[in-house]
């Protein structure tokens, strides 16, 4: 992913995390593209709720793609999933 797009996706993720109760405490410095979900202390259920809430807020009706599931273990993967959700909605 080009650097500019990565920055855009990261900003989008950081902004969304700040609106969620389980992740509101995370700072921009902590949420880097190479960070893992475990390093950030985001639990298995929390990331599921995160994706659900993102869909409800930005792309109601979009279905979870089974191919997304293995990508939810790190920030880069989560960013790519949010991008695909946005693309599915447009």
């Amino acid at each position: 992913m080009p650097a500019v797009e990565t920055q855009t996706s990261l900003k989008k993720l950081v902004d969304f995390l700040s609106t969620q109760p389980e992740t509101a405490h995370l700072t921009e410095e902590q949420v880097t593209a190479d960070a893992t979900r475990e390093e950030l202390g985001i639990g298995s259920l929390a990331v599921i709720l995160l994706v659900n809430n993102y869909i409800q807020a930005n792309a109601p009706g979009v279905m979870i793609d089974p191919a997304w599931v293995p990508r939810l273990n790190d920030v880069a993967g989560i960013m790519s999933v949010l991008d695909e959700i946005d693309q599915s909605a447009s």
Binding site: S44, L45, I48, L49, N52, P66, V69, P70, L72, N73
Partner: protein, 306 residues
């Protein structure tokens, strides 16, 4: 002749309660499911049994047999199914007392367990297989689960309720469904208490692929899916992660009224759908069950009215 499945019946605990009726509910929920908003659970009320479980089993079985028009004396097998914790609560004379009380004078009993909330789907497979014996006419499948200790009702992503749910598999009585296939699979990470969305997806897809292949059908032919009634966002996510589209799931109505009735859930959800929408000939239905360490499913097909 392919045995038909039908006469689904449910006997719920007779006392309707709300989560706030459980002493210390908020603390219990927070301890079991931290950072999880209970309001999203999808459960409004749950049921408690105020009498011995055998009485609810008797009520359920009578309704199944009355609906099918089958005398108790003609039932050749009765297969009980229960989750592991409930199995430990059943008295040693449980089956005998039920059979004597109901006049099930020819029914050979068995119990299927150790698959937690997936046990009743394994019981369905076992009950269907009993027809390999040409003398078998009718098989009862009876799922039951109850939790006497209120504190134990509140578990991770689940609020446990009390219920018995059953159905009849019959060579001659007819019924709206036939069983095409079943499959069950184990998630070793779940057994060890370390399951993740990846391991849950893996075990679900393994079982689903097997059941669909054995049933000779694609997911595109499935009209409705009846899952286990767990925390609603999680149930929806896990289903979609396994490739099951969200609109196919039928569980939110029964979940709101009855919460999670252990291994009875898929029968309760199927019966609710049958009451509301009916079961149509040629349509395929998927019963699924999930529990820490397990996933099971059964592919059913609507049969022409007899």
């Amino acid at each position: 002749m392919t045995p038909a499945i039908g006469s689904f019946a449910c006997a719920f605990g007779d006392l309707e309660r709300e989560p706030k009726d459980i002493p210390g509910f908020d603390e219990l929920w927070r301890a079991q499911s931290p950072d999880t908003d209970f309001a999203s659970m999808g459960a409004g009320t749950f049921r408690t049994m105020t009498r011995p479980v055998g009485e609810y089993v008797a009520d359920c079985v009578k309704r199944v047999l009355d609906d099918a028009g089958v005398p108790a004396s003609e039932v050749d097998r009765i297969v009980f199914a229960t989750s592991d914790a409930t199995l430990a609560r059943l008295g040693r004379d449980f089956a005998v007392e039920v059979m004597l009380g109901l006049g099930l004078t020819s029914a050979v009993p068995a119990v299927l367990s150790f698959l937690q909330c997936c046990s009743s789907l394994e019981a369905l497979r076992y009950g269907r297989q009993a027809f390999d014996d040409e003398d078998v006419r009718h098989v009862l499948v009876v799922a039951l689960d109850f939790t006497p200790d209120d504190a134990q009702r509140v578990r991770q992503f689940a609020l446990f309720s009390d219920a018995v749910a059953g159905c009849l598999i019959s060579r001659t009585a007819g019924g709206p469904l036939r069983l095409l296939s079943t499959a069950a699979a184990v998630d070793p990470e779940g057994l060890a208490g370390h399951d993740s969305f990846v391991s849950r997806q893996r075990v679900a897809r393994t079982a689903l692929a097997k059941a669909l292949a054995k049933g000779g059908a694609g997911l595109d032919r499935v009209a409705k899916v009846f899952p286990t009634n767990l925390y609603e966002p999680l149930t929806a996510f896990n289903a979609m992660a396994a490739g099951l589209p969200r609109p196919l799931l039928h569980f939110t109505g029964p979940m709101r009224a009855y919460a999670h009735c252990g291994n009875c859930d898929w029968i309760i959800n199927l019966a609710d759908h049958a009451d509301g929408q009916g079961l149509r000939p040629g349509e395929l239905y998927l019963a699924t069950a999930s529990a820490p360490g397990f996933f099971a499913c059964g592919l059913l097909e609507g049969t022409p009215a007899s």
